[in-house]
Amino acid sequence: MNLTVAPPLTDQADDIERVWNAVLVAAIVVGVLVVGLVCYIVMRYRRRSSTLPRQLRENIPVEIAYTIVPLLIVAALFTVTFVSVRAIDDVADAEDTDLVVDVTAFQWQWRFEYPDGAVTITGTDDVIPELVLPASSTVRFELHAVDVIHSFWIPGFRFKRDMFPGRTGSFSVDVGEEIGTYAGLCAEFCGLDHHKMDFAVRVVPADDFERWLDERRSEAGA
Amino acid sequence: MKLETILWIGVTAYFTLIGALYWAVGGDPTGTSLLLMATGLGGLVAGWSWDWRRRHGERPEDRVDADASDETGVVGVYPTASLRPLALALGMTATVLGVVLGSWMLIAGVAIIASQLALLVRDTDG
């Protein structure tokens, strides 16, 4: 499974990606302009004679301008952020949630438990655990850490949430239609084998998901 | 001293405001406490500055037209070479390390600190 640059897997990730693209462009434009200005100045005003240049100490209008303009830019960025975070940081109501997955992190593996504890997937040293999710559904994750702080990161979600021992965290996502297998990993340094705490996220069509769940239930139960 | 006083009063005011704002938007108790305690830090120095200025007024370094000859004579005593800092640092290190490594080191550290402080007092003009 190739884990580089997963496409956005959820509606929230789509929002985040849009914000990212806009902010990236803005940052590159500002960067090129400012660094370009420095390069221009360095060439245009290099020392050519021993005459003392005009000793300008201040220019209040210019100074005010270059205070106000960045202020406006960050105000715009803040507004975009404020609006998007409200959408992302939401935990969906119980009636809107299609699936709840209990995620437990411990040094140095993951355990995923599906509804009613019927299906449990635990990683081992040799096999990384697979989190199977239905496409086009609203999924809520309940996060538990047993020993130290871990972090549940799925790059395809463009989202991570730290997991604190002693409290349950939760967040919801609206999984999109991208089918495939993607990377998941622990993002909060948690000790010796932190770098091995990978998991896989497999998004399958909703019917396939039901079938998978039934299969696993019968394997486990009967 | 006017600017310094204003600066510290500004620090105090800032922390009061931002601490209150943070609390109002749902800030956690730790952060709020720290911000409000910072008000105390600023207020302490602001109070001292204010009082100093009230008692001593402006100095040559506060005047835009002062020159070097406005401050002649002895300005202060600046201790040069001294063993106290090295020894005191050793004592403090031993004390903190002693908390971790064992009471023998802690006791030695405290003894060194005590003796060095006594010597410091002796070294300093009475």
């Binding site: 100045i41 050519r48 020993d147 991570k160 909060e188 340094f189 | 800030g27 020159d67 070479a81 800092p85």
Partner: protein, 606 residues
């Protein structure tokens, strides 16, 4: 050095050497024996000690970085095992932040503040020395962790519990790390007290707050932040150590404690900390750019206001390091984090405004100042991206953050650091460094630095977490990791011309003179190196660049208003040598009499 037109005698430019005598006239104030160095309280000697010690720690931190990059060059654990790797990156970060970056700022504070404000030393010389020795001992103790059974601390430089607690990290190395930072934190707090006292109480006549060099302002405001932040860290670490050794449960959730409490305490310190690192170097650049652009600093008061705003806001952004915990007030911290970009941008524009219309020469300090500008702008922009929780949810704890932090750190403690070293080297040693070697150093460093860290932005975006000892081939991280590791080699090599330069320079005779760069601030008004207690004579102080005003004293349209007036107001007898404050450094000696010359005979009474 560029020559300046000297048309007529009464239009000529002065030179500081006219007043302080040729190089080598006065003995350098630095100690000559080992005991002298161990017992010195002189701010210049301590400044030199701080600088050398912090550069040694830079080398150690760099070596640890070398291990990290060698390990990460290819998938698989080739160089060290996981436990060692975890200690390596923990100590790398800790050494760089606590033992190199901040102490070098203190080196600048120590050496330059008294010289720049016209004082004979810092306010509390013995306290100053105490700070230094606490730093040395504290630093040594952190490294001592490597020789313990369990190895050095291996929980990351933030030391989050429960990982850093008694169960998560049972080894002695962790306790030594905590002890080390308690000591160095105390050291820093004491230095901050010293700096604030000195700047408040010991400026020379005429040196108003708004005539102080911006470097002094920055060190002053840095000290505010240190006073605020360091004790909080010390407290948090005492609590952590109590959890580890004395059975308390501050941070143990199974006993009602709270790990997030630690994070609030740590980051309340941690964010001001990174500005504590940065602000002195902003000050350095603010000294260098005007000199090599032959212009006054553009917007002095705006810069002071911007720095003040940065210092204030830096205490109010801390939980942007905790956005992904889901337990902090996102809009408040996003707002303050975005806001802090504004004064930072203002500073950048002020530096650009200084260069605009100037006459720029590319001496080594200026090269590195420009390197700082470009690097810091990049780091600042990624910082603005991270200020948005929307983006931070993905990028936090990834290599994107590693890229960001190294760009801002790189701009400051790599490029601006060398700007400082090349700029003040003549003042400290009396010798010049080779421009040619410095230029090689600069370009190698620019290339190496960017190769190493730019590609980390991609790695973070692609999903590589930080603090990982290894990665799988299937992750797709190989290409950029290899590039980064190659960059590290170039970056390491770039230090060689600098080392050669230093060795070469120290073997030259000390002929630099008082003011080799034709600079602005008061430290250039005394010999190189300065004598004991710094000044035998002071020029009139009528602006933030008294030495510039002194050189241009015959041109009243150029020098600050009142300079020539003050100069002529001094009597003929004292225009060359006006022994300033006579100092007693021995409590048995009687205070000397007033040293103003007798108006009739011209004789002084001392």
């Amino acid at each position: 050095m560029t020559t300046i037109e000297r048309p007529d005698e009464d239009q000529r430019l002065y030179s500081v050497d006219d007043f302080v005598g040729p190089p080598g006239t006065l003995p350098s104030g630095l100690p000559r024996t080992l005991v002298g160095w161990l017992t010195t309280t002189d701010h210049k000697a301590l400044g030199v000690l701080y600088a050398i010690t912090s550069l040694v720690f830079l080398a150690i931190g760099g070596a640890l970085a070398g291990i990290i990059r060698t390990e990460l060059a290819e998938p698989g654990l080739q160089v060290v095992d996981e436990a060692t790797y975890n200690s390596v990156f923990t100590i790398h970060g800790s050494v760089m932040v606590y033992l190199f970056a901040v102490p070098f700022g203190f080196a600048l504070a120590n050496y330059l503040i008294p010289l720049q404000i016209g004082a004979p030393d810092l306010a509390f010389p013995r306290l100053n020395a105490l700070s230094y020795w606490l730093y040395v001992f504290g630093g040594a103790i952190m490294l001592l962790g490597f020789v313990t059974d369990g190895g050095a601390a291996g929980f990351g430089w933030f030391a989050y519990p429960p990982l850093s607690g008694p169960i998560g990290s049972p080894g002695l190395g962790a306790d030594l790390w905590i002890v080390s930072i308690i000591l160095t934190g105390t050291s820093g707090t004491l230095t901050a007290v010293n700096v604030i006292s000195t700047i408040t109480m010991m400026r020379a006549p005429g040196m108003t707050m708004f005539r102080m060099p911006i470097l002094c302002w920055n060190l002053f405001l840095t000290s505010f932040m240190v006073l605020l932040a360091f004790p909080v860290l010390t407290g948090a670490l005492i609590m952590l150590e109590a959890d580890r050794r004395f059975g308390t449960d501050f941070f143990d959730p199974t006993q009602g404690g709270s790990p997030i409490l630690y994070q609030h305490l740590f980051w309340f310190f941690g964010h001001p900390e990174v500005y504590i690192v940065a602000l002195p170097f902003f000050g350095v650049v603010t000294e260098v750019i005007p000199v090599f652009s032959r212009r006054p600093i553009f917007g002095y008061k705006g810069l002071v206001l911007a720095t003040l705003t940065i210092a204030a806001l830096s205490t109010s952004v801390w939980a942007h390091h905790m956005f992904v915990t889901g337990q902090v007030v996102l809009p408040f911290f996003a707002a303050t984090s975005f806001l802090i970009a504004v004064p930072t941008g203002v500073k950048v524009f002020n530096w650009i405004g200084t260069m605009w219309g100037g006459s720029i020469s590319f001496e080594p300090p200026m090269l590195f100042a420009i390197g700082f500008l470009v690097t810091f702008i990049a780091g600042g922009l990624t910082g603005v991206m991270l200020a948005s929780p929307t983006l931070d949810f993905h990028l936090s704890d990834s290599y994107f953050v590693v890229a960001h932090l190294h760009y801002v750190m790189g701009g400051t403690v790599i490029f601006a650091l060398f700007a400082a070293i090349y700029f003040w080297w003549p003042k400290v040693t009396g010798r010049m460094l080779s421009k040619r070697l410095a230029t090689v150093h600069f370009w190698l460093m620019m290339v190496g630095f960017n190769l190493t860290f730019f590609v980390m932005h991609f790695l973070g975006r692609d999903g590589m977490a930080r603090r990982v000892a290894d990665y799988e081939p299937v992750d797709g991280f190989e290409r950029w990791n290899l590039v980064s590791s190659i960059g590290m080699v170039v970056l390491t090599v770039s230090f060689l011309p600098f080392v050669v330069n230093v060795v070469w320079s120290l073997r030259q005779p000390p002929t630099a003179g008082a003011d080799p760069w034709e600079a602005n601030s008061l430290e250039w008004a005394t010999s190189s190196p300065p004598p004991e207690h710094n000044f035998t004579w002071l020029p009139p102080i009528r602006s933030e660049r008294p030495v510039f005003d002194l050189r241009w004293m015959n041109h009243e349209d150029v020098s600050a208003t009142g300079t020539t007036e003050a100069w002529t107001a001094r009597s003929d007898h004292d225009s060359r040598w006006l022994p300033l404050h006579p100092f007693t450094d021995d409590h048995d000696v009687e205070p000397r009499a007033d040293s103003r010359p007798d108006a009739d005979t011209g004789a002084t009474t001392t």
